[in-house]
Symmetry: C2
């Protein structure tokens, strides 16, 4: 990939590179790596996150991964300056602590993320919500590069979000901003795990669309998706998209539902934030350009007139690397700012 520079004003080629560790904790796996300040990934790996073994075990996994990066750096004579750690849930990014429970990790409330990693590598560690770092990664090196107002949304098991304004992650009063999966699309809709009703996530999250298909099949609806499957437990979003593409009525309806609700919800977000760009990432964004274009068309048909000419709705460019890229890049940026003060 093309090199990225955190500061465009300096002469790039003359300077030695700086490096940071990026950690990206998902529902099942931890991705991690070493990124240079020019956006080069010089080391990359992943490991089971042991998220069902409790917060303490997860912190061990993260600290060990960071340590592995340090060992690699030592061998390659690379100097690491900081680490960033993107994690599910509400994260107090000032203290580096998890503030709330999340469906992805057991016993996650109160987990001291930054401290646990810092104890192992003795470097500044910046922890934040994973989707915040995804959005920051896309802002600094991806589809939202150079844009003043960037909204990132991640379509996976759940639906996450990040907002970057003037290069800063917008976290709100208690680090709870950009919970974009919990924007309401039906005032009296489905009950959500967050306590609200009718959240986007309940209509487009991977586990919910799979459930919708399973429910319809159990009611006797027919679908080509069952062909070759041993049980409905093997149904995945990828199979739903594939079946829809082949004209399957049930799966087509589920994809239509996703487009409708994402269109409505993203329009609400646009009417609050008025971003330059909406970047769609997460596993389900891999459903392809036709799906992304359908979402974009739905949003553009709903937003106000002045916005129609301006708004971009695009697929994330960094793919699976957005998280480690964003967390490492953010760590380097924040360290520079902290040192300047």
């Amino acid at each position: 990939m093309a090199p990225i520079y955190l500061d465009d004003k300096i002469s790039k080629n003359d300077l030695p590179r700086r490096y940071a560790i990026g950690l990206d904790l998902g529902g099942t796996h931890l991705k991690y790596g070493i990124i240079s300040d020019r956006g080069e990934i010089v080391y990359k790996n992943f490991t089971p996150g042991r998220t069902s073994d409790g917060g303490k075990k997860v912190l061990n996994v993260m600290a060990e991964a960071a340590h592995e990066c340090m060992m690699f750096a030592k061998k390659e004579n690379i100097t690491i300056s900081a680490a960033g750690a993107g994690c599910p849930g509400t994260i107090d990014s000032e203290q580096g602590i998890s503030l709330g429970p999340t469906i992805h990790i057991t016993a996650w409330e109160g987990a001291e993320i930054a401290e646990a990693i810092n104890k192992k590598i003795h470097l500044p560690v910046f922890a934040d919500n994973d989707a915040n770092f995804m959005a920051f990664g896309e802002y600094i090196a991806g589809a939202g590069r150079q844009k003043q107002f960037v909204v990132g949304i991640t379509l996976g098991t759940g639906v996450g979000g990040g907002i970057v304004i003037d290069g800063n992650i917008h976290r709100g009063a208690v680090f709870n901003a950009a919970e974009l999966g919990h924007v309401v699309v039906e005032a009296e809709g489905r009950v959500c795990s967050c306590g609200n009703r009718g959240c986007i996530e309940r209509y487009v999250g991977a586990k919910y669309i799979v459930q919708d298909v399973v429910d319809a099949l159990s009611k006797g609806e027919e679908s080509i998706i069952t062909q070759g499957l041993k049980s409905t437990g093997d149904i995945t979003p990828i199979l739903i998209f594939a079946a829809a593409k082949h004209g399957d009525e049930l799966c087509g309806r589920i994809v239509d539902q996703m487009v409708k609700y994402l269109g409505a919800g993203l329009t609400s977000i646009v009417n609050v934030i008025n971003p330059d760009v909406i970047v769609i990432g997460g596993g389900m964004s891999d459903a392809g350009p036709v799906f992304i274009k359908r979402i974009g068309d739905e949003v553009l048909s709903r937003v106000m007139k002045p916005v129609r000419k301006q708004l971009q709705v695009v697929q994330a460019q960094l793919g699976n690397d957005a998280g480690i890229m964003g967390s490492a890049m953010y760590a380097m940026k924040q360290l520079t700012l902290d040192n300047a003060q």
Copy 2:
């Protein structure tokens, strides 16, 4: 009212006061006045806005009002430093120009607001969306004072909004942010004038709730609201609230509908912005503390756990003066910043 200081670091009593003109254009009337930098309203007046006579006529009315303030200042030996002009619709606050049409004013697109007023008073003029200035007024001198993240929503004929982050109005990429009346609460709901479907405004805007009552009456529903009225054309939101308070079933249902949809829509806004406070203003916020509390309770029952302990949902403190206060205060603040550069 208690004096307000734009800069808390300076010694207040020793300094001479500064003054600015505040203009607040509504659907029917223009409010205007002179405000000191300590939040004192030293002059206040209003006049028909002539909004149905076209943008050019409206600009004349605004320029004449500003001139009237200048004459008063001259007589009282007060020095005015700037003027702020809050107007309906999307306003390019950098150019001081109206960007789009609005249902409130005919031929409003392209109106050169700042220039028209500046030509008359020869002082810097700052134009912005009226709800942006309402939110700024509440931030600097009202219910959102000293708060880092302030969301203001105005419940009137339509539903407007303003967002103040770190003391700055959040305007977005093309001045279209904080269109809070157009947050979606029903993905396939009522068609809105903005081109979208299911916007908050379509369920809680004054003209729509009146229409809902009229429609129900025309279908044969009974209500005490008709007692003493010559025709259903005399129904107002105030009467709807009063009838609901007296146990009227139809009007009670309409108020319930408002609470439900405002609760759902404001929760979406909270899950995007995570503000310290939501300030509810506009004519219908005068429905009273019980109504405001019901909205607050609905929002707090829907937001995420960490937010429940922190979020405030309160009535605007500046009432009808929020617009002139916000526009004048903003003009003084912006002039100071511009001069410092």
